[in-house]
Symmetry: C2
Subunit: 385 residues, 2 copies
């Protein structure tokens, strides 16, 4: 199959910012794209060849969309995997696979997968309902504090809560969940692995992620991570092992904790281009989006080295602002060295909504991190109305 | 005026590959774009917010299109400048200006402009008709060989011909033209200058251009140029002087000859993103397309330094092939280090038609040039029908 022809169609489930950035590279290669999203205002609506409206969790919407493409991928995990399985059986190439996605969609299943494959991860217990946790704590089967995670549909920190006292449970939905040992860590790390159907792999440098304390969202991504090369090598090997365990095709972003005693534990994975790889657009020889395309189209993988160090800052909606978005002081940050804003094109802002990101490239990672701090304190995502 | 809002509209005259690459950066900044082009199959048709069909040389088409935008720019020089003048008078910001374009559109006027502003350029004579050249040669007013250039509408080597014997004139149109002294040169160089309405300037490193002998088209662009730093400095100063002479806003690509005795002569200029700057997408801190946007929107200009050396190879239609395009061996070149193909999305190929380009980035410019040679000899733009 030749991808560089109008006979070929790439289907993308989800029309958000990840899809939008992926489309820059499908356009670069002139690959025919068809996008499915539930919102008529999706950032992907322009720049794809075909846009279809539909609910990604709806079997018929996904199945009927997928039947008309040659290769199907997604920019978000919350899609109907039964439809993906049916499409796979009918010969549509679905990358990453329905099976991978089913394991990842459920946090309990994902944790068990790590245990079964000897991938280090924090200890946890499963519960059918959040209510059952209280009994477990009462009878000593579970110690406070712990991290509560809903089994289904965790995304960007929703469905995750640090429980320090029993009353914290009262605000949580009564759903299937896990209680995970709270890991005191020095740093959160991530490694992105690209793997194509032939099994060729390419691994990006280890990055550090700094999280926003309240929103539980990535605030800064720093590449390369400022860690001992031995730790970096260990993190890289764990990420590679994880990718192979999934027999993964496409990009797999593996998020990890580096504990006080330099143990590395896998926290979770994302089977797609991920926030922890946005700096690759400016900093790497091959952006994560081009790499995802190369991987799912079984093309040779690109060079994952850095041209320069890179730091990414997420642009999220400021607190106390909801409505039509405005980017205050964006001109000011564009005057700072090596600064590139990426605006996702969402029309409405709200507190902590991801509206864009800014990449800072510099030969010195520490200098890039300093400029990132200035960027963060200068630009504001607000609303005039 | 804030550009980063849906109230702002950027108009682009021309929907070809330059506009297509510019749209990647308008999308990155979420700037609302409206494109005018005569072809319903223009590469820009997707990825702009609005696409309008119309002839760029037609006064009404350009005027009516321009009336609905805040800032108007172009990706090709062959546009109706009377319409641009009318729009300027009505307060539309046209960058580059109608006046600049009028000077550049006519090669005779352009040459006189260089003479008037003390910008070094090859000696030339003007003729109202090609026929008159024969008399000039007969009465000794002009020596063979010389370079014939039609005054109007030169683009990609059309309208340019080296005349070595009088009979060469017979194949040429009988139009207003110039006869320029044939300059024996060591290298062709180019420097891109960005200038915003505030007069801030940013200058890219000097590049070398290697031309295809028959097609008179750029075949390779090499950045940085492999020349003495003193020569580079001289070329840079001439480019800057040229940009200031035009009081230019936007990008100005200044093409120059480096003669045997290290004299630098300006050949011609392009007031827009240009083939000699495509390598900036991968090699520079700021791509020429992002820089053009920063300049015309009066934003701070970006860093023009290289992250790495870069070489660009044009992908043109192979001789003897006309019809639906196919990119033979594109997978093979994608396995070469630092290689990124850019496919413009034109459906039909024909001999020497620009169908795309390939960028090769490498820490060594010579290694990049070697890989470029391999790329050129491997990929073929053909047709299966």
């Amino acid at each position: 199959m030749t991808y560089f022809s109008s006979n070929f169609k790439l289907g993308i489930l989800g029309g958000g910012q990840l899809g939008k950035m992926l489309l820059n590279d499908t356009r670069k290669f002139d690959i025919h794209t068809s996008v499915l999203d539930a919102s008529p205002e999706a950032p992907c609506k322009i720049a794809c060849n075909e846009f279809h409206l539909g609910d990604l969790m709806d079997y018929d919407a996904v199945y009927n969309f997928g039947k008309h493409v040659d290769v199907l991928t997604f920019e978000i995990e919350n899609v109907n995997t039964q439809a993906l399985e049916a499409l796979e059986q009918e010969g549509v190439l679905v990358f990453p696979s329905a099976k991978t996605l089913q394991i990842i969609q459920n946090k309990a299943t994902q944790k068990l997968f790590y245990q079964d494959h000897g991938i280090p991860t924090a200890a946890f217990s499963r519960f059918a309902y959040t209510n059952e946790i209280k009994d477990a704590v009462a009878n000593g089967g579970l110690q406070l504090p712990f991290v509560w995670k809903s089994a289904q549909f965790g995304y960007d920190g929703n469905g995750v809560k640090v429980v320090r006292k029993l009353t914290d449970l009262n605000q949580l939905p009564n759903v299937a969940c896990i209680a995970e040992t709270l890991i005191p860590f020095k740093k959160e790390l991530a490694v992105t692995v690209a793997r194509n159907p032939d099994g060729a792999t390419a691994i990006y440098p280890v990055v550090e992620m700094e999280f926003h304390p309240e929103a539980n969202q990535v605030e800064y991504v720093i590449c390369p991570a400022r860690i001992d090369p031995k730790i970096a090598e260990k993190a890289t090997q764990i990420a590679l092992k994880t990718s192979q365990a999934f027999n993964h095709v496409g990009l797999l972003a593996v998020e990890m904790f580096l504990t006080e005693d330099d143990t590395i534990l896998v926290n979770e994975v994302a089977p797609r281009p991920h926030n922890s790889g946005h700096q690759t657009i400016e900093a790497s020889y091959t952006s994560q989006f081009e790499q995802h395309l190369r991987a799912i189209l079984n093309l040779p993988l690109g060079n994952t080295e850095n041209k320069t160090a890179g730091v990414m800052v997420n642009l999220v909606g400021a607190e106390n602002y909801t409505g039509p978005v405005a980017y205050k002081n964006i001109e000011t940050i564009m005057a700072m060295p090596g600064v590139t804003p990426h605006i996702y094109g969402k029309k409405e802002t709200r507190p902590f909504r991801k509206m864009g990101h800014v990449t800072i490239v510099n030969n010195s990672v520490n200098e890039a991190r300093n400029i990132a701090e200035k960027v963060k304190s200068t630009i504001q995502v607000i609303s005039h109305s």
